[in-house]
Symmetry: C2
Amino acid sequence: MVEIPGDGDYNPTVDAPLPAMTQAAILTADQPLNVQALKVSCQQCSMGQLCLPMGLADAEIDRLDQIIGRRRRIARDERLYQMGEPFRSLYAVRFGHFKTYQVNAAGEAQITGFQMAGELLGMDAISGDRHHCDAVALEDSEVCEIPFDNLEELFGEVPNLLRHFHRIMSKEITREQNVMLLLGNMRAEQRFAVFLVNLSTRYAARGYSSTSFQLRMSREDIGNYLGLTIESISRLLSRFKKMGLVQVDKREVILLEPARLKAMAAGTEQCSPMD
Amino acid sequence: MVEIPGDGDYNPTVDAPLPAMTQAAILTADQPLNVQALKVSCQQCSMGQLCLPMGLADAEIDRLDQIIGRRRRIARDERLYQMGEPFRSLYAVRFGHFKTYQVNAAGEAQITGFQMAGELLGMDAISGDRHHCDAVALEDSEVCEIPFDNLEELFGEVPNLLRHFHRIMSKEITREQNVMLLLGNMRAEQRFAVFLVNLSTRYAARGYSSTSFQLRMSREDIGNYLGLTIESISRLLSRFKKMGLVQVDKREVILLEPARLKAMAAGTEQCSPMD
DNA sequence: CGCGGAATTGAAAATACTCAAAATTAGTGG
DNA sequence: CCACTAATTTTGAGTATTTTCAATTCCGCG
């Protein structure tokens, strides 16, 4: 089974998702910014079971809480960090979605991932002390800032945290290997099926519907990520629609035949190239 | 310390590389396998400056040496580990070359990397406790086995080691992101240029010639890695030859115009699609 | 030698891209 | 709330790059 980006080995016992309304309200509320108020315990965060504190004892989570910096709100299309910026912190997505992308010498971008709640951003910056890619919010979002120096200190004192951190980094490596597999030897149709199934899995792990969700990224972003053009994505969407695999309304997607999509993602089944 | 004759204590910045003959001789020598003899200090290993001990003080390297398991010789085409096997150790390449690849549901492989001396294998297995890919030697090779449990224990005592380990993992993440960029938005010609330039750089870092080296992998492996067919690789090689960019004799490659190749890799220059 | 795997080359085919235009959607300000 | 504009998406037609299939050729090795 081809599993792609994202995490996988989360504990699917998760709280109910944050209502979208609540999230919007937080961001649009025009109360003065109280940094203290922005501090939230990992204990209370619904992402605890997916995020850095996964599997830690309460006392250990407290230690982690102490070093976690302020939360940062990033409005849609705003940048969390940029390639070349000095690296100081990792970021855990509290809610919202991000994309990360590299820019090559010719100025073209390649999206290397889409991140959602509970996922960690910035690990690629550790090696060079500078960010290696850009991270941009796909919608109004919030992250927890995790100063890396402090985290490193904590590693010495909380072995469980260290162990889990290694798993997260390793998971990112396997995620990227899966994308390499996708880009390296799948046809457009299979790539797109993998993409949809992956989103489905990740939303399910967060307590959201696995068959009905919103694409937070543009068609162009999808195409870029999958190594295809926007036109190809559009055509694929039309084809999948016509075949009754999905129902699509703007960015709202409903997977009508998840099993067949999974089969396509696995390479077991393929859809005819349309008449 | 028992030193096996001719065994890799070359200094990357000075000495000439080990002749392939010597390496072969080591492996085919039919002396009894003395596990003690296989133990070599990181201090003496010429890869120290590229490998796990990088930047460590002598005392710290000693600690590392104590946990490093036996060296393992892997003959050409032999497997170091296989997808699904329980994960116990990381491996540092002492000499030789490896390829790592994933196999998808349909049984097709995707090579995710080629590893050479000083590089670390197996980091993708940390997250799942099982190997996530296969590692196969491209030629007779040798690795240091690094039991991961022991390494984790040591992390608590040697912060520098931990820090460096994080850099290595992070580096692997950025490496893979670069491959995603390659697979996602480069044409065949640029991919191949990137591939050659990358090898060149890595050999240079090891004290070998940056313009003259041997491809340790088959054309098929190259194609698989670059998301192209073997025929495409062959055609590209012919084209580059005809353009005077490279000289090729079987697996021996000489870069005649490194600057232009770099420009092609960067996307600054492109070669015409042959007349 | 001659066998077999690997690599090269050619011709035809296919997938996905490019370019162009139309349609839809989102954003903005009256 | 509507109208207008800009941005995004969809669709079509033609093209291009790369693949596929097939046939040699090259080379190592028994």
